[in-house]
């Protein structure tokens, strides 16, 4: 195997390890940090089911963002939804036909729309970048990394689109490479500049995920203003460090 292939195998194992362990570390940290007070943003659901629906609406429709600013909502939603479609389409490079997901990813809608989803990502990301550059308030709060995140995702979408619509890569060899990673049986990576760029950027995205604002994805599920049930009068909510401060009347 060429040095190039070895380098990509190593890169992907490294990126996957950082992504998995980093994210697990962050999520564990969020889960273990207590939420001592009931602080749901009201009006809030009074049942667990209601909370699940509230979170569901945030994840699927970006409900709060919709209330806030329609343009950011529109571009943000187009980008995320396109990313999801593109992700599903990419599963065909990582799964074999005996996978239970195969019927889903071989759906016409996933494969066809998935192909154009790259354009959706470009549109969404360009809109978000334009907003970051041209709206004074948003420019004021932006750090270099905020622009770089968008540019990274734009480059991922762009390099992907170039392979779909301009210069095809050898997808049979690509699939062998990807499956080789999964089965710990390294295979050569196709030697295509677009593909190698695409893969490098995706690996970079995986690496920065647990140390950047991309943590907003797990963060939402741990947000006390969104995930708490409004039942403070009916049930005493008390975490261990706070309970230690309790002392009875006669003490």
């Amino acid at each position: 195997m060429s040095f190039l292939s070895v380098a990509y195998v190593v890169l992907f194992y490294f990126a996957a390890a950082v992504f998995i362990f980093g994210l697990t570390y962050r999520i564990t940290k969020y889960a273990r940090t207590p939420a001592p007070l009931k602080i749901p943003t009201m009006p809030a659901p009074t049942t667990r089911t209601g909370v699940a629906m509230r979170l569901g609406r945030e994840v699927v429709f970006f409900e709060s963002l919709f209330k806030s600013t329609k343009w950011t909502w529109l571009f943000g939603w187009i980008f995320h939804f396109s990313l999801l479609l593109a992700f599903f389409r990419h599963l065909r490079y990582a799964l074999t036909p005996d996978s239970f997901l195969w019927p889903l990813i071989s759906l016409e809608v996933v494969q066809t729309f998935g192909k154009y989803a790259g354009y959706g990502m470009l549109i969404g990301l360009t809109g978000l970048l334009a907003r970051r550059i041209f709206v004074d308030r948003v420019r004021y709060i932006s750090s270099p990394s905020d622009y770089l995140h968008l540019i990274l995702l734009l480059a991922i979408a762009g390099s992907g689109l170039l392979m779909t619509f301009v210069s095809h890569t050898d997808i049979v060899q690509l699939k062998a490479f990807v499956l080789g990673l999964f089965y710990f049986d390294p295979q050569p990576v196709p030697n295509s500049w677009f593909l190698l760029t695409h893969l490098t950027l995706v690996a970079l995205l995986l690496i920065i995920f647990p140390i950047s604002k991309l943590l907003h994805a797990p963060g939402l599920f741990f947000s006390p203003t969104r995930n708490q049930v409004d039942n403070s009068r009916d049930k005493r909510h008390v975490v261990p460090w706070a309970a230690r401060l309790d002392s009875t009347h006669s003490d």
Partner: protein, 504 residues
């Protein structure tokens, strides 16, 4: 606003709350240490510092930003004052690539900026409604104030008041004899007006209901009119109730400074009063942040509520004595609305015909609590009460009420004269919305159920060329419409005892 900062708390006031008296020498390390401590204790703080993507959704939602146009008053701008330091000391990217992610060292300038801008946040939570991840700037600002207190720079207004609450029992420093006199005067005033002996009992053991209300209700206008309203409602309901001189304060300013320990200590005064007086129910007067603390936190802080674990001795001590048929705490508006629904109050709406009303949703009631059994009851119940006692009612524009309500500009510990300019500018969005309904619908009065809102509006309305007495208490409207059983309508027949007293 650049350079705006409230007065610093004096060493004595700092120390009585368990904080250093003045800025300590190793403030830098202590502040970073405190931040680390809070990151481990509050999930909100940890998750919110990580999750912001700088989407800008909150940037035009804060009333202080809208009023001052200072970008550091944008919710994310305010958070970033602290987030930038968090990143520098607690994240990989901030430690190794500070410029890239906008991380910076904690310097004296940064600390000063914290003191200034975290005292230009009223912790109203409007930003949290619009944030796609529910990031609540109030959580950040409470943490920031706790860090500031821990290095010795606290705010005079809040910390002095909390100290008074510990030593005297209320924010005003009104001692028991003065409180008793005030209540007797109010009883007299009602009697002169209506010819009915309506009581405002203090420290009466064996009463069914303990009423906890902000001490502003005892003397400030229009608060005191609301207090008379509660008393008249209790009177008509025929319920034995009492106030407590030990817990003569609903307000809990420790929430503003983010101090769990102090907030608990203040809340435990209510628990103690309830136990000592042997009451079965606990009710709460018109107050915003206090109702948040009562509704959302009392059960946690002091077991004042229902549903504690059977093994939870601390909470069960009180909860076993409380009547399970009523919510604890119960808002006075929930109580009054229930009586109105059951036709227990004789109301003459025409008494308020000289007014066209609108209602200001107080931020902590709207976005941090509930009334009634269903979400949103905190919006509906006060409006239904007003409409039951007044013929003329209109709402302000939809994007300025209910969960989108604008803060009065004086919440979160900012109701102090040394922050007057911020208060006036922060009130601007509310004043503009009010002005709309004044011009379009001839609104004459705005009702509120928060002591801070009432005081703040009485002060800032004149800056916007509106009369200060435009602001009224909801229970003041109830009082004015309520026809007491046996009332003699103004020309009070002399009470036999009273007549004798006068003769002799």
């Amino acid at each position: 606003m650049e350079g705006t900062k409230p007065f610093f708390a004096k060493p004595d006031h700092q120390k009585s709350l368990g904080f250093p008296g003045e800025l300590i020498e190793n403030w830098h390390d202590t502040a970073i240490g405190k931040m680390g401590d809070l990151l481990g204790k509050y999930r909100s703080f940890q998750v919110y510092l990580d999750s912001c993507v700088k989407c800008g959704a909150c940037t035009d939602k804060c009333h202080y930003y809208l009023g001052t146009k200072d970008p550091k008053n944008m919710p994310v701008g305010r958070q970033d004052l602290l987030r930038s330091v968090y990143r520098r000391y607690f994240t990989f990217a901030g430690k190794y690539f500070p410029k890239l992610v906008g991380a910076r060292d904690l310097t004296r300038e940064v600390l000063d900026d914290w003191y200034s801008y975290f005292h230009q946040c009223s912790q109203c939570r409007r930003c949290s409604v619009f944030c796609p991840y529910g990031i609540d700037t109030a959580e950040i600002s409470m943490a920031a104030r706790e860090i500031l207190d821990s290095v010795g720079i606290g705010q005079k207004y809040c910390n002095e008041i909390i100290g008074k609450c510990y030593t005297i029992g209320n924010n005003l420093g009104l001692p028991e004899p003065a409180l008793r006199d005030t209540l007797e005067d109010l009883e007299e005033e009602i009697f002169e007006e209506r010819g009915v002996r309506v009581r405002l009992p203090l420290d009466e053991e064996g009463a069914d209901v303990l009423l906890i209300t902000p001490s502003a209700d005892f003397f400030a206008e229009p608060h005191v009119d609301g207090l008379m309203g509660y008393a008249m409602v209790f009177h008509e309901a025929g319920i034995k109730w009492t106030l407590s001189s030990y817990a003569s304060e609903a307000a809990n300013f420790s929430m503003f400074i983010g101090s769990y320990e102090n907030m608990k200590k203040q809340a435990e005064r209510i628990r103690k009063a309830a136990l000592d007086l042997g009451v079965k129910r606990i009710m709460h007067g018109e107050c915003g942040h206090a109702w948040r603390v009562a509704y959302s936190f009392w059960n946690t802080l002091a077991g004042v509520g229902h549903g504690a674990d059977p093994n939870d001795k601390y909470a069960q001590e009180l909860q076993q004595r409380l009547d399970p048929n009523f919510p604890v705490p119960q808002h006075i508006c929930e109580f009054t609305w229930d009586l109105i629904q059951r036709n227990q109050l004789n109301l003459d709406k025409s008494a308020n015909d000289d007014k066209v009303l609108t209602f200001h949703d107080s931020c902590n009631v709207a976005r941090a609590s509930r009334m009634g059994d269903t979400p949103g009851g905190q919006f509906e119940i006060p409006r239904k009460i007003i409409q039951a006692v007044c013929n003329n009612y209109v709402d302000m524009p939809r994007d300025t009420i209910k969960e989108s309500t604008f803060c009065c500009g004086g919440g979160g510990g900012l109701l102090t004269d040394d922050l007057m300019e911020v208060r006036v500018k922060g009130a601007q969005p509310r004043m503009e919305a009010l002005n709309r309904v004044v011009e379009d619908h001839g609104v004459t009065n705005m009702a509120a159920i928060c002591a801070i809102c009432k005081s703040q509006f009485a002060k800032v309305l004149p800056y916007y060329k509106m009369p200060m007495d435009m602001i009224v208490s909801v229970h003041q409207l109830v009082r004015d419409a309520l026809v007491l059983t046996g009332q003699t309508n103004g020309e009070a027949e002399a009470d036999p005892d009273e007549a004798q007293a006068e003769e002799s």
